[in-house]
Protein backbone atom coordinates (compact mmCIF):
# COMPACT_ATOMS: atom_id res chain seq x y z
CA UNK A 1 0.00 0.00 0.00
CA UNK A 2 1.59 3.23 -1.08
CA UNK A 3 0.14 6.60 -1.92
CA UNK A 4 0.73 10.27 -1.56
CA UNK A 5 -0.12 12.38 1.47
CA UNK A 6 -2.84 14.06 -0.62
CA UNK A 7 -4.57 10.72 -1.04
CA UNK A 8 -4.31 10.08 2.68
CA UNK A 9 -5.85 13.47 3.42
CA UNK A 10 -8.64 12.82 0.94
CA UNK A 11 -9.48 9.47 2.57
CA UNK A 12 -9.41 10.95 6.08
CA UNK A 13 -11.64 13.75 4.82
CA UNK A 14 -14.03 11.21 3.31
CA UNK A 15 -14.25 9.50 6.69
CA UNK A 16 -14.89 12.81 8.44
CA UNK A 17 -17.55 13.74 5.89
CA UNK A 18 -19.46 10.61 6.90
CA UNK A 19 -20.15 12.15 10.33
CA UNK A 20 -22.65 14.34 8.48
CA UNK A 21 -24.77 11.24 7.99
CA UNK A 22 -25.20 11.12 11.77
CA UNK A 23 -26.81 14.55 11.57
CA UNK A 24 -29.18 13.31 8.89
CA UNK A 25 -30.01 10.32 11.11
CA UNK A 26 -30.91 12.65 14.00
CA UNK A 27 -33.03 14.76 11.64
CA UNK A 28 -34.94 11.81 10.19
CA UNK A 29 -35.44 10.34 13.66
CA UNK A 30 -36.82 13.67 14.85
CA UNK A 31 -39.29 13.89 11.96
CA UNK A 32 -40.59 10.34 12.38
CA UNK A 33 -40.66 10.52 16.18
CA UNK A 34 -42.70 13.69 16.18
CA UNK A 35 -45.01 12.27 13.52
CA UNK A 36 -45.56 9.17 15.63
CA UNK A 37 -46.24 11.08 18.84
CA UNK A 38 -48.71 13.25 16.97
CA UNK A 39 -50.28 10.25 15.26
CA UNK A 40 -50.82 8.41 18.55
CA UNK A 41 -52.63 11.40 20.00
CA UNK A 42 -54.90 11.81 17.01
CA UNK A 43 -54.87 8.60 14.94
CA UNK A 44 -57.71 9.75 12.68
CA UNK A 45 -55.59 12.62 11.30
CA UNK A 46 -52.47 10.49 10.83
CA UNK A 47 -53.35 8.93 7.47
CA UNK A 48 -53.62 12.33 5.78
CA UNK A 49 -50.13 13.32 6.85
CA UNK A 50 -48.06 10.40 5.54
CA UNK A 51 -47.19 12.32 2.35
CA UNK A 52 -45.95 15.26 4.43
CA UNK A 53 -44.01 12.79 6.57
CA UNK A 54 -42.16 11.41 3.55
CA UNK A 55 -41.46 14.89 2.18
CA UNK A 56 -40.03 15.86 5.58
CA UNK A 57 -37.88 12.73 5.67
CA UNK A 58 -36.63 13.44 2.15
CA UNK A 59 -35.63 17.00 3.00
CA UNK A 60 -33.93 15.99 6.25
CA UNK A 61 -32.11 13.23 4.40
CA UNK A 62 -30.89 15.55 1.64
CA UNK A 63 -28.19 17.09 3.84
CA UNK A 64 -26.89 13.65 4.77
CA UNK A 65 -26.77 12.88 1.06
CA UNK A 66 -24.62 15.95 0.49
CA UNK A 67 -22.08 14.65 3.02
CA UNK A 68 -22.15 11.31 1.22
CA UNK A 69 -21.52 13.17 -2.03
CA UNK A 70 -18.56 14.99 -0.49
CA UNK A 71 -17.16 11.64 0.68
CA UNK A 72 -17.57 10.15 -2.79
CA UNK A 73 -15.93 13.16 -4.43
CA UNK A 74 -12.98 12.97 -2.04
CA UNK A 75 -12.54 9.26 -2.65
CA UNK A 76 -12.93 9.12 -6.41
CA UNK A 77 -12.57 12.63 -7.86
CA UNK A 78 -9.71 14.27 -5.90
Amino acid sequence: MEGSIVEMGALIGAGLACTGMGGAAIGVGNVVGNYLSGALRNPSAAAGQTATLFIGIAFAEALGIFSFLVALLLMFAV
Binding site: A51, I65, F66, L69
Partner: protein, 252 residues
Protein backbone atom coordinates in the same frame (compact mmCIF):
# COMPACT_ATOMS: atom_id res chain seq x y z
CA UNK B 1 -16.60 3.44 -8.77
CA UNK B 2 -14.35 0.39 -8.75
CA UNK B 3 -12.73 0.22 -12.13
CA UNK B 4 -11.07 -3.19 -12.10
CA UNK B 5 -11.90 -6.65 -10.86
CA UNK B 6 -10.68 -7.38 -7.35
CA UNK B 7 -11.18 -11.14 -7.41
CA UNK B 8 -7.45 -11.80 -7.71
CA UNK B 9 -6.70 -10.42 -4.24
CA UNK B 10 -5.87 -13.13 -1.71
CA UNK B 11 -7.49 -13.61 1.71
CA UNK B 12 -10.56 -12.03 3.28
CA UNK B 13 -13.17 -10.98 0.78
CA UNK B 14 -13.10 -13.00 -2.42
CA UNK B 15 -14.87 -10.18 -4.25
CA UNK B 16 -15.06 -6.47 -3.77
CA UNK B 17 -18.50 -5.19 -2.68
CA UNK B 18 -18.41 -2.53 -5.41
CA UNK B 19 -17.71 -5.00 -8.24
CA UNK B 20 -21.44 -5.43 -8.86
CA UNK B 21 -21.68 -1.86 -10.13
CA UNK B 22 -19.14 -2.22 -12.95
CA UNK B 23 -20.61 -1.34 -16.35
CA UNK B 24 -19.65 -4.05 -18.86
CA UNK B 25 -20.41 -4.33 -22.58
CA UNK B 26 -22.83 -7.20 -23.30
CA UNK B 27 -20.93 -8.33 -26.40
CA UNK B 28 -17.15 -8.44 -26.50
CA UNK B 29 -14.74 -6.55 -24.26
CA UNK B 30 -14.34 -3.28 -26.14
CA UNK B 31 -14.41 0.18 -24.61
CA UNK B 32 -17.78 1.55 -23.51
CA UNK B 33 -19.01 4.29 -25.84
CA UNK B 34 -22.41 5.97 -25.67
CA UNK B 35 -23.88 3.54 -28.22
CA UNK B 36 -22.44 0.35 -26.65
CA UNK B 37 -25.03 -2.15 -25.42
CA UNK B 38 -24.03 -2.72 -21.78
CA UNK B 39 -25.57 -4.51 -18.82
CA UNK B 40 -27.16 -1.16 -17.85
CA UNK B 41 -28.96 -1.10 -21.20
CA UNK B 42 -30.14 -4.67 -20.71
CA UNK B 43 -31.60 -4.13 -17.24
CA UNK B 44 -33.19 -0.81 -18.14
CA UNK B 45 -34.82 -2.47 -21.14
CA UNK B 46 -35.99 -5.30 -18.88
CA UNK B 47 -37.58 -2.78 -16.50
CA UNK B 48 -39.47 -1.20 -19.41
CA UNK B 49 -40.53 -4.63 -20.71
CA UNK B 50 -41.81 -5.60 -17.23
CA UNK B 51 -43.87 -2.41 -16.95
CA UNK B 52 -45.34 -2.94 -20.41
CA UNK B 53 -46.01 -6.63 -19.79
CA UNK B 54 -47.73 -5.99 -16.48
CA UNK B 55 -49.99 -3.28 -17.85
CA UNK B 56 -50.77 -5.11 -21.09
CA UNK B 57 -51.69 -8.22 -19.11
CA UNK B 58 -53.69 -6.13 -16.65
CA UNK B 59 -55.73 -4.31 -19.27
CA UNK B 60 -56.11 -7.07 -21.87
CA UNK B 61 -59.04 -8.80 -20.13
CA UNK B 62 -60.78 -6.11 -18.13
CA UNK B 63 -63.47 -7.28 -15.75
CA UNK B 64 -65.79 -5.69 -13.23
CA UNK B 65 -64.28 -7.97 -10.59
CA UNK B 66 -60.54 -7.53 -11.25
CA UNK B 67 -58.13 -10.41 -11.45
CA UNK B 68 -54.68 -10.43 -9.86
CA UNK B 69 -52.84 -8.32 -12.44
CA UNK B 70 -55.72 -5.93 -12.90
CA UNK B 71 -56.07 -5.23 -9.18
CA UNK B 72 -52.32 -4.54 -8.85
CA UNK B 73 -52.46 -2.17 -11.83
CA UNK B 74 -55.57 -0.43 -10.48
CA UNK B 75 -53.98 -0.12 -7.04
CA UNK B 76 -50.82 1.46 -8.46
CA UNK B 77 -52.75 3.77 -10.76
CA UNK B 78 -55.03 4.94 -7.97
CA UNK B 79 -52.13 5.38 -5.56
CA UNK B 80 -50.13 7.66 -7.87
CA UNK B 81 -53.24 9.48 -9.14
CA UNK B 82 -54.29 10.36 -5.60
CA UNK B 83 -50.75 11.50 -4.77
CA UNK B 84 -50.62 13.86 -7.78
CA UNK B 85 -54.08 15.19 -7.00
CA UNK B 86 -53.34 15.74 -3.29
CA UNK B 87 -49.95 17.41 -3.69
CA UNK B 88 -49.90 19.13 -7.08
CA UNK B 89 -53.60 20.01 -7.05
CA UNK B 90 -56.38 19.49 -9.59
CA UNK B 91 -54.46 21.22 -12.39
CA UNK B 92 -51.45 18.97 -11.78
CA UNK B 93 -53.45 15.94 -12.95
CA UNK B 94 -52.60 16.91 -16.54
CA UNK B 95 -49.00 15.82 -15.87
CA UNK B 96 -50.03 12.52 -14.25
CA UNK B 97 -48.77 10.30 -17.15
CA UNK B 98 -45.21 11.62 -16.76
CA UNK B 99 -45.18 11.04 -13.02
CA UNK B 100 -46.73 7.57 -13.37
CA UNK B 101 -44.06 6.67 -15.97
CA UNK B 102 -41.27 7.84 -13.66
CA UNK B 103 -42.67 5.90 -10.71
CA UNK B 104 -43.17 2.66 -12.63
CA UNK B 105 -39.73 2.78 -14.24
CA UNK B 106 -37.95 3.45 -10.94
CA UNK B 107 -39.93 0.91 -8.94
CA UNK B 108 -39.33 -1.84 -11.53
CA UNK B 109 -35.64 -0.96 -11.95
CA UNK B 110 -35.22 -1.11 -8.15
CA UNK B 111 -37.05 -4.41 -7.75
CA UNK B 112 -35.28 -6.04 -10.72
CA UNK B 113 -31.97 -5.00 -9.17
CA UNK B 114 -32.83 -7.10 -6.10
CA UNK B 115 -32.76 -10.36 -8.08
CA UNK B 116 -29.55 -12.31 -7.47
CA UNK B 117 -26.90 -11.60 -10.14
CA UNK B 118 -28.97 -8.68 -11.43
CA UNK B 119 -27.62 -5.23 -12.11
CA UNK B 120 -29.22 -2.27 -10.33
CA UNK B 121 -29.47 0.47 -12.96
CA UNK B 122 -30.77 3.04 -10.45
CA UNK B 123 -27.58 2.67 -8.38
CA UNK B 124 -25.72 4.68 -11.03
CA UNK B 125 -25.81 8.44 -10.69
CA UNK B 126 -25.69 8.68 -14.50
CA UNK B 127 -29.11 7.01 -14.72
CA UNK B 128 -30.79 8.84 -11.84
CA UNK B 129 -29.26 12.18 -12.85
CA UNK B 130 -30.96 11.93 -16.24
CA UNK B 131 -34.30 11.30 -14.53
CA UNK B 132 -33.75 14.13 -12.03
CA UNK B 133 -32.52 16.60 -14.66
CA UNK B 134 -35.55 15.71 -16.75
CA UNK B 135 -37.81 16.60 -13.83
CA UNK B 136 -35.82 19.77 -13.05
CA UNK B 137 -35.86 21.07 -16.64
CA UNK B 138 -39.52 20.14 -17.15
CA UNK B 139 -40.57 21.93 -13.99
CA UNK B 140 -38.45 25.04 -14.63
CA UNK B 141 -39.56 25.41 -18.25
CA UNK B 142 -43.17 24.73 -17.27
CA UNK B 143 -43.00 27.42 -14.59
CA UNK B 144 -41.67 30.03 -17.01
CA UNK B 145 -44.14 29.04 -19.75
CA UNK B 146 -47.15 29.18 -17.42
CA UNK B 147 -46.23 32.26 -15.37
CA UNK B 148 -43.58 34.11 -17.34
CA UNK B 149 -41.30 36.29 -15.23
CA UNK B 150 -43.62 36.08 -12.23
CA UNK B 151 -42.34 32.51 -11.73
CA UNK B 152 -39.35 34.24 -10.05
CA UNK B 153 -41.72 35.15 -7.18
CA UNK B 154 -41.00 31.60 -6.02
CA UNK B 155 -37.70 32.97 -4.67
CA UNK B 156 -39.20 36.14 -3.21
CA UNK B 157 -40.83 34.97 0.04
CA UNK B 158 -43.56 37.57 0.55
CA UNK B 159 -44.53 36.12 3.93
CA UNK B 160 -41.16 37.12 5.44
CA UNK B 161 -40.30 40.64 6.71
CA UNK B 162 -38.80 42.87 4.00
CA UNK B 163 -35.17 43.11 5.28
CA UNK B 164 -34.82 39.30 5.37
CA UNK B 165 -36.23 38.73 1.86
CA UNK B 166 -32.97 39.23 -0.15
CA UNK B 167 -31.15 36.77 2.13
CA UNK B 168 -34.00 34.30 1.80
CA UNK B 169 -33.98 34.79 -1.97
CA UNK B 170 -30.33 33.70 -2.14
CA UNK B 171 -31.03 30.68 0.07
CA UNK B 172 -34.11 29.74 -1.98
CA UNK B 173 -32.09 30.06 -5.19
CA UNK B 174 -29.33 27.78 -3.87
CA UNK B 175 -31.87 25.24 -2.63
CA UNK B 176 -33.62 25.37 -6.00
CA UNK B 177 -30.43 24.45 -7.85
CA UNK B 178 -29.51 21.82 -5.25
CA UNK B 179 -32.79 20.01 -6.04
CA UNK B 180 -31.63 17.89 -8.99
CA UNK B 181 -28.44 16.99 -7.07
CA UNK B 182 -30.23 15.72 -3.97
CA UNK B 183 -33.05 14.26 -6.05
CA UNK B 184 -30.69 12.04 -8.07
CA UNK B 185 -28.14 11.18 -5.40
CA UNK B 186 -30.82 10.19 -2.88
CA UNK B 187 -32.02 7.39 -5.15
CA UNK B 188 -28.57 6.32 -6.38
CA UNK B 189 -27.00 6.52 -2.92
CA UNK B 190 -29.71 4.50 -1.23
CA UNK B 191 -29.64 1.78 -3.88
CA UNK B 192 -25.83 1.61 -4.00
CA UNK B 193 -25.36 1.59 -0.21
CA UNK B 194 -27.95 -1.15 0.34
CA UNK B 195 -26.51 -3.43 -2.31
CA UNK B 196 -22.95 -2.83 -1.12
CA UNK B 197 -23.97 -3.76 2.45
CA UNK B 198 -25.57 -7.00 1.22
CA UNK B 199 -22.35 -7.82 -0.67
CA UNK B 200 -20.21 -7.07 2.39
CA UNK B 201 -22.25 -9.55 4.45
CA UNK B 202 -22.04 -12.02 1.57
CA UNK B 203 -18.24 -11.72 1.82
CA UNK B 204 -18.42 -12.54 5.55
CA UNK B 205 -20.53 -15.63 4.76
CA UNK B 206 -17.39 -17.23 3.29
CA UNK B 207 -15.83 -17.38 6.78
CA UNK B 208 -17.15 -20.54 8.48
CA UNK B 209 -17.16 -19.12 12.04
CA UNK B 210 -19.58 -16.27 11.38
CA UNK B 211 -21.45 -17.55 8.33
CA UNK B 212 -24.79 -18.24 10.15
CA UNK B 213 -24.88 -14.65 11.42
CA UNK B 214 -23.85 -13.34 8.02
CA UNK B 215 -26.64 -15.26 6.28
CA UNK B 216 -29.19 -14.01 8.83
CA UNK B 217 -27.90 -10.48 8.27
CA UNK B 218 -28.21 -10.86 4.49
CA UNK B 219 -31.82 -12.01 4.91
CA UNK B 220 -32.64 -9.08 7.17
CA UNK B 221 -30.91 -6.58 4.88
CA UNK B 222 -32.70 -8.05 1.88
CA UNK B 223 -36.05 -7.47 3.58
CA UNK B 224 -35.02 -3.91 4.36
CA UNK B 225 -33.89 -3.40 0.77
CA UNK B 226 -37.31 -4.46 -0.57
CA UNK B 227 -38.83 -1.76 1.63
CA UNK B 228 -36.18 0.82 0.64
CA UNK B 229 -36.65 0.06 -3.08
CA UNK B 230 -40.31 0.96 -2.87
CA UNK B 231 -39.89 3.91 -0.50
CA UNK B 232 -37.19 5.52 -2.65
CA UNK B 233 -39.35 5.25 -5.77
CA UNK B 234 -42.21 6.74 -3.74
CA UNK B 235 -40.02 9.57 -2.43
CA UNK B 236 -38.70 10.35 -5.93
CA UNK B 237 -42.27 10.55 -7.22
CA UNK B 238 -43.59 12.59 -4.30
CA UNK B 239 -40.75 15.11 -4.66
CA UNK B 240 -41.54 15.38 -8.38
CA UNK B 241 -45.11 16.26 -7.35
CA UNK B 242 -43.83 18.87 -4.88
CA UNK B 243 -41.63 20.49 -7.53
CA UNK B 244 -44.53 20.39 -9.97
CA UNK B 245 -46.70 22.16 -7.40
CA UNK B 246 -44.06 24.89 -7.10
CA UNK B 247 -44.11 25.36 -10.87
CA UNK B 248 -47.91 25.48 -11.04
CA UNK B 249 -48.40 27.74 -7.99
CA UNK B 250 -45.18 29.73 -7.46
CA UNK B 251 -46.74 32.14 -4.96
CA UNK B 252 -45.91 31.42 -1.36
Amino acid sequence: MATEEHGAESGGLVFHPMDQFIVKPMFGDGPVAWYTVTNVTLWMALAVVCVLLMFVLATSRRRIVPGRFQSVAELGYGFIYKMVEDIAGKDGVKYFPYIMTLFLFIVFANFLGLLPMAFTTTSHIAVTAVLAMGVFLTVTILGFVLHGASFLKLFWVSAAPLPIRPVLAVIELISYFARPVSHSIRLAGNMMAGHAVIKVFAGFAALAAISPFAILAITAMYGLEILVSFIQAYVFTILTCVYLKDALHPHH
